[in-house]
């Protein structure tokens, strides 16, 4: 979804852009990733795509975290927010009924999550804060605009048991000072 007012607003994901390809390879081979990016790099779309790909495997609980719940949930009809983008891509997978992705039978879209009943997987949107992650045993955590989450330090600390258990952690943000910035720059010891 391109909401910049172009004629063809819904287009295939531009996987051929050089950094998208490289980022995917990096994500496949590294459990913990922190990305400090420029604007307009398609990284939130890419993060939502990785969440969708991973949740289509059995027994996965993927957590998408933003500053507020509304930010994490977003809007699936305009492709906004991590969960909104995940829902949007799920709705536009070509020939999805052929590969066994029928809405209502194979997966159910809720306000704050998507359940894949056959697979026993789910992707959940949560607001910032350690207590939000603490109560979940996640297989993967996607923290969107993490530099703008004042409670990112608590979230990361609460996610460490999940990470030790094998969960991947993906932090993506534009530049801002905060705990995520310190994590990226080896300054977490100061906190």
């Amino acid at each position: 979804m391109d909401t910049h007012g172009n004629e063809k607003s819904i287009r295939p994901f531009p996987h051929d852009r050089p950094h998208v390809h490289a980022m995917t390879d990096l994500w496949l081979h590294n459990q913990l990733i922190s990305i400090r990016k420029s604007r307009q790099m398609l990284m939130t779309w890419w993060g939502a795509a990785t969440c969708l790909w991973d949740v289509l495997h059995p027994g996965k609980l993927i957590v998408q975290q933003s500053k507020k719940l509304e930010d994490a949930v977003g809007n699936e009809w305009v492709g906004d927010g991590p969960l909104g983008r995940t829902k949007f891509m799920l709705a536009h997978i070509p020939g999805k009924s052929v590969i066994g992705l029928v809405e209502g039978r194979d997966y159910v879209k809720r306000e704050t999550h998507i359940d894949f009943k056959q697979l026993g997987s789910a992707v959940v949107a949560i607001p910032e804060g350690g207590s939000q992650i603490r109560q979940k045993t996640a297989s993967g955590i996607f923290s969107d605009e993490s530099n703008f989450q004042p409670e990112f330090g608590d979230s990361y600390a609460a996610a460490i048991p999940c990470i030790r258990g094998g969960a991947w952690f993906l932090s993506i943000s534009t530049a801002e000072l905060g705990a995520a910035h310190d994590l990226h720059n080896d300054q977490m010891a100061d906190r």
């Binding site: 050089p18 950094h19 490289a22 990733i33 420029s38 604007r39 307009q40 790099m41 080896d186």
Partner: protein, 429 residues
Amino acid sequence: MVADAKTWTITDPETQVLIPGNEHDIGLLARRNFNQFVAIDLGMGADPDVFTKDLIRSEQLRLGGRLLPDGSFRNGWRFRKEYLRDATAAAGQPVFEQEWLDWQTPHLRDPLYRMDLDLSPAGLSLPQARLGLPEGFRLPTPSEPYAVAISRDVDGLVVLGTAFWTLTAEARRQELRKWLVKKAEGRIAVWIDPTSRPVGLPPSMESGIRVFAAGADVGEGVQQSETTCIVLTGDTKEQAAEFGSNRITPGDFGVLMAAICRFYNDALAVPVRKLHGITVIRAMLEECGYGRIWHERNSSRTIEKRAEALGWMKGETSDDLLFGRWITAIKEHRVTLHSATLWQQHSQYIYDVQGRICHQALAGVSVEERKRHGDRCVGGALAWLGVLDLPLWRDEKPKDVSPMGSLNYRREQRGQSTQAQKAAPWWSK
């Protein structure tokens, strides 16, 4: 080189260039940090087909970049933060850009006159008053209605009528608290007279009067921070008056604030509520009987109703609800400043390393310390908040309290005593 193409596993703490950048920005850099994260820096150079030279230049210009006389280009801090990933780019940058303040420069001028409170006539007797009154006061001439205790003449002088001298010293002091007096060395600078005709008033409306809002930020009164009051007009949104002092106590300032508001056609007062602000509000309400104070609203999806909480809850420049609106008003030239001091203080506001707005003298102190700092810009922002809630002008000045000794005052007293008699139980009559 550990980041081989086969596995893409990053284990080296040294930065690896996975995608080279170009002359505009880096590409894709990665390294393993101490927390075992792969720290990736992703710049516009990683995608040169999308981030072309023209696109980058248009974004640079849109975000405050400038072509310098020597032909080089200087990026604005917003571009450095958004596109070049500089988290501290905002630190030290002025909040009010020079172009916004330059627009105000032609409007800066000296005040029309100055005013202040003066309670000294309360201690005088009539024979002493005949020998000479302080500056700004005079006795009535035989042709004037001498029975009224206090009134203001066309020149703005305060006339102390015969009834004034029949009052006790305490009652005189109470009356004088309501009247600002013209003083050459007064603490309140006045640019717009409250009796001036509203701009844009239709000729058919003869009785329209201007409306004003007065914002007040309160300091401690021990020379640590400034207590300020800024008055703005409702119709032209320009500065009408200014007060600033770091010696006045909050209680005295409440009395002065009530007098300023009464002088300005019963202006809407918007004081802060935090710390000493509550003392100001209490002094205005209880000591001066002035109740036209801005109050919060409780909003829900369907209704918005008046809350009991008087005054603005905070007074910090980091409060976007308050200061953000003022920044927009200055940026879009919706407000006109006349005071050079107020104008100058705007140029002293910067963003700190956390991106919060602060006074440059306070950039190194804690947030708690900043909260105690009163300032004229905060006063202006509060007045702007009040002005947004006001009509352009009013039909008639609302009657707050009748001057003691006036005909209306005696009627009110008589009416109140009649009501009290009627309300009293039968056995007390």
